[in-house]
Amino acid sequence: MDQEQLSAGLSARFPGKILGVDTFPGTNGRVRFDATVASDLFRSLRDDFHFTHLTMVGATDWIDHREVFYVLWSDADRRYLILSTDLPAESPVIASAVPIWPSANAHEREAWDLVGVKFEGHPDLRRIFMPEGYAYHPLLRSFKIHEPEDLEVKVRSD
C-alpha cells in the first residue's frame, strides 16, 4: 500500500479528521490527525492497515500548543508512518496507545514526565526519569534552569 492509497483510505474512514499528509521520502509520510479520533485511528491503523509495531511516541512543546507524534512500522509494507497531532497547551490530553500497542507504555510515560502530555487510559502513568513528586515537566519551554547554588534540597529517604 503506497502513500496515496493509505491517505485515501484514512480520509474515507475518518472524514474531516485527517488534517493533512506530508511527504517524507522513504516513508509513508506524516499524517496529521484530530486528537479526538486518536483511539479509533490507532485501532484502524493496526487492524486494517497492518501497522503492527509502534516504534516511538514523542512530544514537543511549541509554546502555544503541544505536538504528539507516533512512529509506526508496517511489516507488510516495510514502511514507516508518522502520525502527528496538536493538543492545546492548557489541556494536553490524548487517548493512550497502550491498549493497541503495548510498546507505547514507556514512551508515553516519558512524554508525560518531560513534556506533561496526559495519556488517558494509560495503565500506569507515573514519572519515568524524574522522582515521584517532582513539581515540573522539565522539557517545557517555560521551565527555568536553576543555578545549583539556588537549589533548596529536600530529599526524603524512604
Binding site: 526519569f129 524524574m130 522522582p131 521551565f143 534552569i145 536553576h146 543555578e147 545549583p148 529517604s157 524512604d158
Partner: protein, 208 residues
Amino acid sequence: MSGQAPETSKPLPRTTPDSTPAGDLPLAVVGQPGVPFVEIETLRAREFIPAAKEALSSLLKEQAQGKLIRPVFNWAGRNSLFPLHWGLACCAIEFAAAFGARWDAERFGVVPRSSPRQCDLLIVNGTVTWKVAHKLIALYEQMPEPKWAIAMGNCATGGGPFRTAYSVVPGVDKLIPVDVYIAGCPPRPENMLDGILRLEQLIKERGE
C-alpha cells in the same frame, strides 16, 4: 605442615645467614641445609603468637587505665576500609579498574563489598540523579558507624558536565557528608588510590 614438626619444648635449630645480624629473626632462607621451608614457617608463626599475645595483653592493661584502644581501632580501621561496590556511571569503570590486577587497590587494605551493612566507605563514583538520590541516602544510612564518603569524579563533586541539568544532583554533598573529593572526569585509578590514602590520613588526624 610436615609430619616431623619439631617439639615445642626444644628451641628450633636456627641457621642464620652470615649477613644477618645476630639476634634478628632468621630470614626465610629457602633451600639452606637443615632449614626446610616448612620449619621456617612454623618457627615464625610460633614466635609471632606469643609476641602478639604479649602486645595485646599490655594493650588491654593500658585500656583498663584508659584511652589506648581508640587509637588502635583507628589504626586498624583506617588501614582496612570497606567501600561499597556501587557503580553509578562512567567513573565506576575506573573504580573497577582500580580494584583489578593492574592497580590492585587491595594493597592498601581496601576491599569492596556488595552490601552497605558490611561497609564503612561510600565511594560515589558517578552522576547522581534526583531519581536515585534517595537510594544514595538510604545506602549511606544503612552503613554502620564509623563511616566515610568519597565523592569520586566531577559529577559526584559538583555535577560535572551536567551541573545545570534538571535531573542531576549538583554535588552529592547536598545529600550526604563528604570527606574527600577527587577531581577528574574520570579520575585515573591512581587518583582514586590517592584519595583513599588521603582519607586514611584524615581519619588518622581526626582520631575517630
